[in-house]
Amino acid sequence: MIQFDNATKRYNEGYEALSQVSFHINPGEMVFLTGHSGAGKSTLLKLVACIEKPTRGQVIVNGVNIGRLWKRSIPYLRRKIGIIFQNHQLLNDRTVFDNVALPMIIQGVSHKEVGRRVRAALDKVGLLSKEKLYPITLSGGEQQRVGIARAIVNKPPIILADEPTGNLDPDLSKEIMELFQIFNQVGVSILIASHDIDLITKMNHRILTLEAGKLIRDGK
């Protein structure tokens, strides 16, 4: 599903954020990504979502080689990936419902279908009662969950999450991780970057550990 072959990412400034990283995530796998601040976690996720392209090496996502992907084809790859951002990335002038509906609007899903699936997604993250509110009136944790609902509403085969529990209390963090586990059980591949080593070791999934751009550990 996600395959890195000696992938290297060097930013314009000459700094090598990822060096020769190789790993393979199978469909239906749930994998954690950890490492110190600046290790390259976000960079790795950006390569998967084709936000950045590898300087050297190959990144293959859902059978598509990111390095050779046409600009015009990028949107169609991204529709297969649900991304949860570190800083929510919600639109403050749209209601919770509209924010979650966005990926389906983009794909031109019919009005009725949108309503049904948005509510299902909001129900899963426990925010069905807040669909009419604006993100600004929600607490940090609630906003994070809106972001998760938006990422899953399309039932994408891949979910990426960049520190999805960074701003949540321990109980809620555990809940959200369990939510990811449920998606994983229905066959979705999940890659989560996180600092919360205690939590992720308890989850007992494969963990990729980065250090200064190098993959130094790959296992449970």
Binding site: N62, R79, L91
Partner: protein, 325 residues
């Protein structure tokens, strides 16, 4: 197994795409069409700021053009505007003069010709000059035969008249061809200046409309940078992102055109005093003509075209620069 899973998904999407593609395509366009109009209406003050500028920019050349058009209509009505007097040589037989008169009258460029014979001129002169019967003492009439010619309206431009004059002068029977049309030349020169001025003004103002729409859309794009980024991140195509901006430009242009029409109509009302005054001077029953439906139509189309082009340029230039990183 997972490959199969993913394949299956692909097929599903392709399937529904083909089925409802055209219908949903149009529905989406209409949605954006109405959505952008709704957005414009929901912030009427802000939208008015943009559309009013477009309206003003469109109104000015249209208004000037209208004034010129009316002006030309007025001047076309001026009787005797250009009058040519042909003083014929002496001792030409009555028949020859008669023939010349009918020949000239038959010309396409001529509206009418009146023949004033030397005898008639003498009679007139006797009556009006105060010399009275004392002129009877003259041996022979020193006055020439005269043809007074009025050119047709379509031939009263200075160049055409000059061509006509040259033709007459070549005629062997004509002694002097005289034309009092200096002031017409002047008028046409003035109108030339005005016309040139209008072209310059119209070109400048068209540029202004493009710039205003382009600028507004550009700032709009920058304003929605975050939204565009998020949309791109969750898989929106460029076409999808571009669409609302183009429709916004479309609406700005159309509304601007409508405002221009209103402004001109109001201005005509304000100007009508001066214009009636002008018209009265020529004793004409001239009434100023407004833009009419066709004018409204042209204004709307022009506004639409400029609005769409402006947003197209802005979208082309600025949307590409916004990429997630």
């Amino acid at each position: 197994m997972a490959e199969v899973h993913s394949k299956k998904k692909n097929n599903q999407i392709t399937h529904t795409s083909i089925k409802g593609k055209t219908i949903s395509y149009f529905i989406r366009h209409i949605q954006v069409f109405l959505f952008t109009l709704g957005t414009i209406c929901r912030s009427p003050f802000a939208s008015l700021m943009t559309t009013a500028v477009i309206g003003i920019a469109l109104a000015l050349p249209a208004g000037l053009h209208l004034i010129l058009k009316n002006f030309e209509a007025v001047t076309a009505n001026w009787d005797g505007a250009a009058q040519i007097s042909l003083f014929l040589k002496k001792d030409i037989s009555e028949e020859k003069v008669q023939k010349l008169t009918t020949d000239i009258a038959a010309m396409d460029e001529i509206e009418n010709v009146s023949y004033i014979s030397a005898d008639m001129a003498m009679e007139e002169f006797k009556k009006h000059s105060g010399f009275g019967s004392s002129l009877d003492a003259l041996d022979n009439n020193p006055l020439p035969d005269v043809l007074v010619i009025k050119p047709a309206i379509h031939s009263s431009s200075p160049e055409k008249i000059q061509r006509l004059m040259a033709k007459f002068r070549k005629n062997g029977m004509v002694d002097i061809a005289q034309l009092d049309m200096e002031w017409i030349k002047r008028l046409y020169s003035i109108m030339d200046v005005v016309r040139d001025g209008i072209w310059i003004a119209a070109a400048l103002l068209a540029v202004a409309v493009l710039l205003v729409v382009g600028n507004t859309i550009r700032l709009d794009i920058q304003n929605k940078k975050e939204e565009i980024l998020i949309n791109k991140l969750i898989g929106a195509t460029d076409v999808f992102i571009r669409r609302p901006f183009l429709y916004t430009g479309f609406w700005y242009g159309i509304i601007g055109g409508a405002i221009a029409f209103t402004l001109i109509t109001v201005s005509i009302f304000i100007l009508s005093d001066s214009i009636n005054n002008l018209s009265g001077l020529y004793g004409s029953s001239f009434t100023i003509s407004g833009l009419g439906i066709s004018g409204l139509f042209i204004l709307l189309i022009t506004g639409l075209g400029l609005g769409l082009s402006g947003s197209w340029i802005a979208v082309g230039r600025h949307l590409k620069q916004i990429e997630p990183s």
